[in-house]
Amino acid sequence: MTYVQALQCRECGRRVDVAATHACEFCFGPLEVVYDYDAMRGVVTRERIEAGPPTLWRYADLLPVLDGPADTRDAGRVDLGAGFTPLVPAPRLGAAIGLDDLWIKNDTLNPTGAFKDRVVSVALTAARHLGFDTAACASTGNLAQSVAAHAAASGMRAIVLVPADLEQAKILATAVYGPTLVAVKGTYDDVNRLCGELADAYGWAFVNVNVRPFYAEGSKTIGFEIAEQLGWRLPDHVVAPMASGAMLVKIEKAFRELIDLELVDDRACRVSGAQASGCSPITTAYANGGDSILPVRPDTIAKSLAIGDPADGYYALEAVDRSGGVMDDASDPEIIHGIKLLARTEGIFGETAAGVTIAVLRKLAAQGHLAPGDRTVAVVSGTGLKTTDAVAPTVGPTFEITPSLDEFQSALSLQGSA
């Protein structure tokens, strides 16, 4: 059975039947999936989840799976194996910034190298159940690649729209899967606006438009996994990057669901958000007291976070406020420093969004928002191999020599004395 009951407007509370629609017909507020939690109680247990696959689909009961009996519905899944990524202790990074119990949720290890594989796997599975044969999206890059890959693997057609100035690696890593890849001269917000209009005109599943209520639920699995991997226990603090703000919102929701279903003890977990200073509409609203988010025109190397008009920004402010978290942002030099610090202490090469998270983590620790003994989890959401442009000016060969032992020894001693 499915536990999905309906879609409900987050603004005005009106309910509608499950369908490919994302905005309330009355007030345009975002629609969210409603589950029958009472029916889950006593059925959705730790043991049932632990017996599932080592992917995000171990949490299928808590995801918007739309048809088929619980134990046979995996047949229609669009699944490249996303999720259940490692949660690793980060003692060397922790020592560098003054945290004694720091962990990294390493989402660089998803099939296309970013957490977007979670939301896309869930969105396209729902899209197929709703009868779509074409997947589409507006993307800052990671989503484009993930949609193209998952569509290819499931025989769906893919239409992907990206800003034309995207990192070359992300363009190539999307095009290789053979989608219709449209480079739009404009910002991400321009591309997104176009997609909003295209979704009206074409019968496609736009993962971030008409199937967004299902898509967004996929991010809950980051929260589920953090809790399960800590031995069914919530950490003290989670720090997550924010673009639209949806991932942070869903992590906080995941923790509340786990508490509600008595899968973890009811203890406070603060959720804090990080943005790039060059695109910080949510952290700016937070700093100003928080009831009005003004869109901005992005100017940051963190292109995967460059959403100037963040649709979930208000809910991110609410989630951070409810959980007792904080928000801050990081400049481009701080982002680059964060990328290198993570790589050089923990051996994890994250993308610019990871640099944002680590830089803000460092600030929050320095400002005393994170106590040294807090069990803290930082979400590293994508791989640095897709944003090498960001670090290219500051890293490279240590020295270049001819294949000569003497030259090697001379160069090495010069480096040692430097």
Partner: protein, 92 residues
């Protein structure tokens, strides 16, 4: 001064199914009032309960300019302009 208003799918139930509506007005506020005169109830869907602000999940564009970057409801609407009403969408 005539503008073309583009109506998103969720709002077409209030415009007898019309995807575009031609109305008069020199500012976004006037255009919305004219639209509401032609299709009573539409403005209440776009504006918040005070009637003075666009709801927070509705984006309004005059040609390609988001009115939040311009003058909000006071944003000028040139003759022949297109006013687009678009539900906010999430990102990635």
């Amino acid at each position: 001064m005539t503008a073309t208003v583009r109506i998103p799918t969720p709002l077409r139930s209030a415009t007898d199914g019309a995807a575009t509506v031609g109305v008069d007005g020199t500012t976004v506020g006037e255009v919305l009032r004219s639209l509401d005169a032609a299709h009573p109830g539409v403005a209440g869907r776009i504006l918040d309960d005070s009637g003075g602000k666009v709801r927070r999940f509705v984006n309004v564009f005059v040609d390609d300019e988001d009115i939040r970057f311009a003058g909000g409801l006071e944003t000028a609407v040139p003759d022949g302009a297109t006013v687009s009403i678009i539900p906010a969408v999430a990102g990635g």
